[in-house]
C-alpha cells in the first residue's frame, strides 16, 4: 500500500538511454556498411576506367613507328584518370654477347584521386622498335 504507484509503470531513464544508444549504434553501423559498399563500387569502376586508359595508351605507343626515351605526364581525362608514361632504352645482350638494339621498356601509370587518396595502376611492357 505504501508502494508508490509509479513503480513498474514505465522505463527508467537509464533503460531508455541504453535502448537509444543501441539503436544509434545499429544505425551508425548500417550507414557505414552502406557507405563502404558504395565506395567499393566506385573504386572498382575507377579501376576499370584506369585499365581502359592504360590499354588505350598502350595501343597508342604500340602504333608508333619509332620510340624515343623520355617521360610524359598527361592531363586528366573526362573520368579523372591521368596517364603518365616513361620510355627507356633497355640494354640487353644476345646469346653471342652482342648488344641487342631497339628494345624499349615502356612504363605506364594511370593515377586518380579516390576520396582524397591518390591511387594508381601500373603497367610495364617491353617493345621492339629497331
Amino acid at each position: 500500500m505504501k508502494q508508490p504507484l509509479r513503480q513498474g509503470g514505465g522505463f527508467t531513464l537509464v533503460e531508455a538511454m541504453l535502448a537509444l544508444a543501441i539503436f544509434a549504434f545499429a544505425m551508425v553501423g548500417f550507414g557505414t556498411a552502406l557507405d563502404g559498399v558504395l565506395e567499393a563500387g566506385a573504386l572498382a569502376r575507377r579501376e576499370a576506367f584506369a585499365r581502359a586508359a592504360l590499354n588505350s595508351r598502350l595501343a597508342e605507343v604500340q602504333s608508333l613507328a619509332s620510340l624515343k626515351a623520355g617521360n610524359t605526364t598527361g592531363e586528366p581525362d573526362g573520368r579523372g584518370i591521368t596517364v603518365s608514361q616513361s620510355i627507356d632504352s633497355l640494354s640487353a645482350q644476345g646469346s653471342d654477347g652482342s648488344d641487342l638494339a631497339g628494345l624499349w621498356t615502356v612504363t605506364l601509370r594511370a593515377s586518380w584521386k579516390e576520396g582524397g587518396e591518390e591511387r594508381s595502376l601500373d603497367s610495364k611492357v617491353i617493345l621492339y622498335r629497331p
Binding site: 544505425m27 552502406l34 585499365r51 590499354n55 602504333s63 617491353i126 621492339y128
Partner: protein, 250 residues
Amino acid sequence: MKRTMATGFTLVEVVLALAIAGLLAISVFAMISASTSGTAQLATESLRERREETLTRLLRQSFANLPIDGGVVLTNIGGDVTTSAALAVTNAPGGMGFLADGEWSGGWILGARPQADGTATLALLKLPVRPGSSTLGDLMEEGPWLPVFPGISRATWRFRTKQNNTWSEAWNEGSGRPDLVALSLEFADGSAASEHLFWLPPVVASTSSAPSSSTINQPVFGTRTPDASVVPTPPASVPSVPTVPGVPIP
C-alpha cells in the same frame, strides 16, 4: 490526488513521444531511400562499365586479329547526322566474336542506331562474304542489328597511321589500313565521355602466295613484322623479359 497522476500520459508526453518517433522514422526512411537509390545507381553504372569493357575487349581482339586483306571503312548507315557514321570492317571472318565460317562471315558494321526515346544504341550488323551494294543498303535498312550498347548519344571514330600522326575523321575504301583507331562514346545521361584506342598490328604479305581480292573466302593471314613487339630471343641476362606484351595489367 496521487491516483490521477498515474492513470495515463499527459498530452505533452504523448506529443513528445510522437515527435521523437516521427524523427526516428524520418531518419530511417531517409537512410533506406538513400541506400536504395545509391544501389540502383551503382548497378546502372557498373552494368554500363561492364558493357563498355566487353565491347572494347571484343574490338581489341577483332582489330588485333584483322586479316591482311581485311578492310576498315567509315561508312554511313543513315538516320540522324550525328549518329550516322559507322565503322565497317570487311573480309574479317571471326570478328566481334562471330563464327568464322559460312556465307555470313564477311565482316561487321558497328554503328549508333537512333532509338524512339531520343538516345542511340550502338549496334552490330553481320555482313555476308560478298555483299553487293544493294544488298548492303537493304541490310543496313532492315538489319538484323544486334544491340550491344544502349544509352549513348553519339559514337565517333577517328583514324591514324604511323606515317602521319594526325587524326583523320574520315576513312574511305582507298585509305588502306590504319594503325590506330579511336572510338569516342558520348552518353545520353551526360556522364563523362570515354575514348578508347585500338591498335592494328602491321601485317606483311606471306612470300609464298600473295593475297588477292579473289581469295577473300580464305583470307591469307599475314605474319606480323618485328614491331609486333615480341622480343626475338630472350637474352639470358634479362630473365624477366615478358614475351607477350599487350596484357598491361599483371
